[in-house]
């Protein structure tokens, strides 16, 4: 296993977007996945903020469509003076294994020079965490003060607690689950079917400049339906028509909400890979937080009243599993109307909870 850090090895797109400007790449060598696959040469894209002082490292784990730029997508919680205070903590965030923002994923080039495509193995949340563990070892961070994440990021945080129990002191999850429900698997599956039934998907082997954008766009629109609550959709769009006072009676855009969904879906295809969507949603669906007795961490677990796709019942399950295993756990349900997106939008309420949790 190679673990050399080369801060000069920037992403080739580093000048095009702030999220990529400070991204570092680290080669961590070969990985055998929990699913029986092998990746011969894994690269991890990551960013860090603050200074490491031995006991102040916080790993931030991103959700499905996130990246290593935690001060971007989680700027309500991560930054100078924020709950995850970059003037106080050494904060690390890496793009997950299987992703498409610098870390090895299906759109990365195989040693043979072509994208992995269908050759990329199915992976698990455990495989993502294994890669993060190697990254931290390479960075000289033996132990984490805290690992924090929302949604898929929360699952990685839970997995950290049992895979590396001696390396984690505190675990913060928000809008997450110990395992997906049948309905969550169903939503993911319909998105996958939209991609896999797009003729351009071609069993996963498509040119990177001609991907199955229609399928991915539909999958992302479906995602956006689950990110907001009914009341958030109402207050954002209600039944307003898009730039007109009377409908045109056609199949094009009539309502604002239609314009929003198409815009979100199509925008997503410009920055995200369809196979990554398949591989990461599979990992989400397989995940189950097990062997909780192994954990040595304290837990803070947040949910939102209006989050119908990761409802509070799933945080109750995290609490129940942690308590049954004799762990210390605080669980708080926050009343905000933003739906699942609340975990990204709410700096204040979960920020205060997280601040207290880290100060304990």
């Amino acid at each position: 296993m190679s673990s050399s850090i080369d801060p000069a090895l920037f992403d080739e797109n580093s000048r095009t977007a702030p999220a990529e400007a400070n991204r570092l790449l680290l080669k961590i060598g070969e990985l055998s996945t929990e699913t029986g696959g092998t990746l011969s040469d894994v690269t991890v894209a990551y960013e860090t903020w603050g200074e490491f002082r031995g006991d102040n490292a916080i790993l931030v784990c991103h959700a499905l469509s996130g990246d290593s730029h935690a001060v971007g997508w989680w700027d309500r919680l991560v930054g100078p003076g924020k709950a995850i205070d970059t003037t106080k903590y050494f904060v690390i965030c890496s793009n997950v294994l299987g992703g498409c923002q610098g870390t090895t994923g299906p759109s990365s080039l195989h040693p043979d020079g072509k994208p992995y495509g269908s050759r990329f193995p199915i992976i698990t949340i455990g495989d993502m965490v294994e890669v993060q563990g190697r990254l931290l070892s390479a960075l000289g961070v033996p132990k984490l003060f805290c690992v924090a994440g929302g949604s898929m990021g929360g699952m990685q945080a839970l997995e950290w607690s049992v895979r590396f129990p001696e390396r984690v002191q505190k675990v913060f999850t928000t809008a997450s689950a110990a395992k997906h429900s049948a309905m969550q698997i169903g939503f993911n599956e319909v998105g996958r079917q939209a991609i896999m039934r797009d003729p351009k998907w071609n069993n996963g082997d498509y040119p990177l400049n001609d991907p199955p954008s229609n399928g991915l766009s539909v999958a992302r629109m479906l995602g956006h339906l689950t990110f907001l609550s009914e009341s958030a959709f109402e207050s954002k769009f209600s039944r307003r028509l898009q730039g007109k006072s009377l409908p045109d009676y056609h199949l094009g855009v009539e309502f604002e909400v239609e314009s929003y969904l198409s815009y979100q879906g199509d925008k997503f295809t410009k920055r995200f890979d369809a196979n990554t969507q398949l591989v990461l949603t599979r990992a989400l669906d397989y995940f189950e937080w097990k062997d909780v007795a192994r954990a040595n961490a304290d837990f803070l677990c947040v949910s939102y009243t209006s989050d119908w796709i990761y409802p509070t019942g799933q945080s109750l399950e995290i609490e129940r599993l942690a308590k049954s295993a004799g762990k210390r756990v605080q669980r708080v349900e926050i009343d905000l109307p933003y739906g699942h997106d609340a975990f990204l939008l709410d700096g204040e309420l979960q920020g205060d909870l997280l601040r207290s949790f880290l100060a304990e």
Copy 2:
């Protein structure tokens, strides 16, 4: 307008399915739609049960994927001895305008011998009701004792109350709404995008033997996600794998819920037309129950606790609109765990309410 009834004119598929065996067809001539379109020669497929005695007619209106065979899809409520008792009432049910079960729709043949396809106009719930009104006139039924329907059928029932106020005495809606929310429009739109982004859709002009089945299948899977509640998904499927005890770690079927959704999606493509899905969901999204003061009917309005896609708040709105207009309205929320499907599955509780409502 032609209004001749020809009971001998059976659907050509009449021998293949019970639902089609007793279907009658009536030509009602030209229709100008509310959207500015024209259909030169509209046929209505319908069925009746019981005997007409002047004041005992009940029109049953079907939901998105239904047909004229009310004793099939609504057998918990319609039949001998059921709440809509076919030994007591003269019950009529017709396939809606725009449908694909006998009534003129996008897959019907245009006078030029080819399917309407993209030439079929966008329609409204009002257009559907207009066609039903003509059917009843042709059948010699000037007034309805009751009009009843769930989901899209409930919208037709509400529309009847204001479009033909002198022809309706009682209105029964279940799992329905006075208008779609932004989120409901969003769900419909994602399904439409799945169809319209299928290359085989071809702007609506596809051969009937080579339709955009992948897009329609994804749209239907998405529909099924909304028909059940989270708890219904859990009790039906939980996280059980499909015929195995360990996952195979591939993109094929792993979980039972995935198998169920794909089965439902693909089965649907064998009996339903993709353009009908587009046209009917558009009609749903445009609908708003207006001019309620015109109505002369009494209302019974049922909703289900676990129906998250047509939640009780929408029945509260029907009640509020009816009360504000000085109408008599009863509203009942029934506590059952089946989700939106409850309106099809619950014969007992809503059956008792409907029985009392009809006996008043």
